[in-house]
Amino acid sequence: MSAPDTLPLAPLVIDRVRVVDPSRGIDADGAVIVAGGRIVAAGPEALNQGRPDGARVIDGAGCVVIPGLVDMRAFVGEPGFDHRETFASASRAAAAGGITTLVTMPDTDPVIDDPALVDFVLRRARDTAVVRIHPMAALTKGQAGQEMTEIGLLKEAGAVGFSSGRSTVTNAQVLRRTLTYARDFDALVCHLPEDPDLRGSGVMNAGDTAVRLGLSGIPAEAESVVLARDLRLARLSGGRYHASAVSTAEAVDLIAWAKDLGIHATAAVPITNLTLNEIDVGAYRTFFKTQPPLRSEDDRRALVEALARGVIDVVVSNHDPQDVETKRQPFAEAADGAIGVETLLSAGLRLVHSGDVPLSRLVDAMSTRPAALLGLEGGTLRPGAPADLALVDLDEPWVLSEADILSRSKNTPYEGARFSGRVCATFVGGRAVFER
């Protein structure tokens, strides 16, 4: 784990603030007290014991304190693509978005499939990042989909999960054995359900818009066929399966089915698939080209509803920095991917303001639930937990402009978008890593 430096730190009190802590079912006005980098108390009765001496006091009037976000799916360019994003730039952007733990994908160059590389990531992150960085290791060697990685040794080295990244393990026997083996180490197997053959040359959701634009489509079945297979393999093996990014109404039905049967399966949805749809592609705007693709409005609505019900467990940024070279291309030739750590929470708050998703469920899906799935300490304001938290003004109106983006890459689908709600400050281990 990469902890920010731990010089002596004054205690912190955030007063007159709404405290939302899904881990304890708290949503009430109160205060948060932090000392020694950990939560001392958080909630309506937090100040009953008095304030610590010499504390920094922040007036939180009109704001909400939430546990810092835990983003389970972020691509960072280091090593190999430092020009797109480094741990330093990604972590600063994440801090501005209220994220205190960033889980990085292994699809780098080289692929993170060896314990020494996990160690490299942790060292680089410790030296350069302002938020906690936890790497996921590759699910298969070289992400080639043929041989499982050294799940035991990689986990010991610090990998918090095992991800197929942008790729899919097409060989069912390989995935079955990997799930079986991973179970012995209680390792989380994160898989992207996308059949590469059904996707074929597809570049956006199959449907009216694709036909009108003359682009080849990716059918929903590219996702559901693989997901249906995966969930049955999860049942067969007893392993812990997590769908890294789902985008369709069909996927929602499958996950609900699996959960009803007691299969150890969870799913995440990218924030883009909750807040945007295929029509946003408009005139071949490549920043809206993502993996999984933006789907129909019906799919989006089904995902939002599934998030509210808890069928979808987790919301991820699916942060994927791409540079001009890979994005200023004809739509079909441009790379997939959109950045998302800075806008994760603000975009998510749209669903809260629209009344579709309660705030506590959104925070649960962006913080508490992912921390629990990954076995991390964060995601809670429980006394004794690391003081990873974000102070948020739920109603502050703002417009995203490219100049404000901290990420090294600027491929955001939200440029010029209006948001209500913005992170005011972010704390990692009780230390302010971002303040507006």
Partner: protein
């Protein structure tokens, strides 16, 4: 008046195709008969005559150095004429079926055929087609009965008993005929058998059959009297059953640290050939708790007993039957 001596019947079968189906009395009978052969093997004069004039064919469809030479030596010490069928030179390579081979060999009137085959059930199939005794020297991942008998003999000579001993069988259970025969034999003699290995190498059905199964060497070795290691074939890596040799050794390789979790007087066994540094550390393989070399010696003694029993036993009508 004395009560009639109702001794339960010993081993009187024409074939030894597996441990499955043998009674504990048959097993104990074979072990008892092997004991005498151990002494013979340590004498200067080792040659006996119980199979004099008899013909033994070792028919090995799968390469084997130790099992084949052990059966060869066992037959020769009993006075049999032993012929080794070399697979590379045989007509099997030219497309002859297993049954054709059996019928051909049968026409040469052997007294016993010792068979190893890569397919489970092949030895039993062959036994139906020949008129002589058949001994299974390993069929696929099914059974290797003489290995289980020699392991039991080795254990009994050191611990004085089999019953109530805790035996941990560790490693690639999935592909192991040695494990299956040992599980059958040891449970028949009331030992407590534990299976230890990664879930990819232990069929879940063993758990359903009531055996103790664990993925943790620490759990599996705790209070173990016997630690039985199995060979991990390197081909298993390509099959993506385990990720690498170094990870396998880290979690399942028997090194002095892991062996210390077992009872202080625990003994280590391995059917061979060993992969040092994969499933077993050289310090353990060649250490004071290792019985591995002694297992080889017991192998000859057990196979002498088995060959003698199937050829001369009442199951074959005895000497007079021929």
């Amino acid at each position: 008046m004395t009560t009639p001596d109702i001794k339960p019947p010993g081993f009187e079968r024409p074939h030894l195709l597996g441990i499955d189906g043998l009674t504990r009395h048959e097993i104990v009978d074979l072990l008892d008969r092997s004991e005498a052969n151990v002494l013979i093997g340590r004498q200067a004069q080792k040659k006996g005559s119980s199979l004099r004039g008899r013909t033994q064919i070792n028919l090995f469809f799968e390469a084997s150095t130790r099992t084949q030479s052990s059966f060869e030596l066992a037959g020769k010490r009993l006075g049999a004429d032993v012929m080794n069928m070399s697979v590379a030179a045989s007509s099997v390579k030219k497309g002859e079926t297993l049954i054709d081979t059996a019928v051909t060999l049968n026409a040469m009137n052997p007294d016993v055929i010792v068979v190893r085959h890569h397919a489970a059930g092949a030895v039993a199939l062959l036994a139906q087609k020949v008129g002589c005794s058949v001994v299974n020297a390993g069929d696929g991942a099914h059974e290797h009965p003489t290995q289980a008998l020699l392991d039991a003999l080795t254990i009994r000579r050191h611990k004085g008993r089999i019953e109530r001993l805790t035996v941990a069988i560790c490693g690639d259970i999935l592909h192991s005929r040695v494990a299956r025969s040992n599980i059958l034999l040891l449970t028949a003699l009331d030992a407590r058998v534990r299976l230890v290995g990664p879930s990819t190498l232990i069929p879940s059905a063993f758990r359903d059959m009531g055996l103790e199964v664990t993925t943790s060497m620490r759990e599996g070795l705790e209070d173990a009297d016997i630690v039985m290691m199995l060979r991990l074939q390197r081909e298993r890596m390509q099959g993506s059953l385990v990720p690498s040799v170094r990870e396998y050794f880290r979690y399942y390789g028997l090194d002095p640290e892991k062996l210390a979790w077992a009872r202080p007087d625990a003994l280590v066994m391995h059917p061979g050939p060993m992969n040092r540094g994969v499933e077993i550390d050289p310090a353990v393989a060649d250490g004071p708790q290792s019985l591995i070399r002694e297992q080889v010696e017991m192998g000859v003694a057990v196979r002498m007993a088995v060959l003698d029993a199937v050829v001369n036993g009442r199951g074959n009508g005895g000497e007079a039957g021929r």
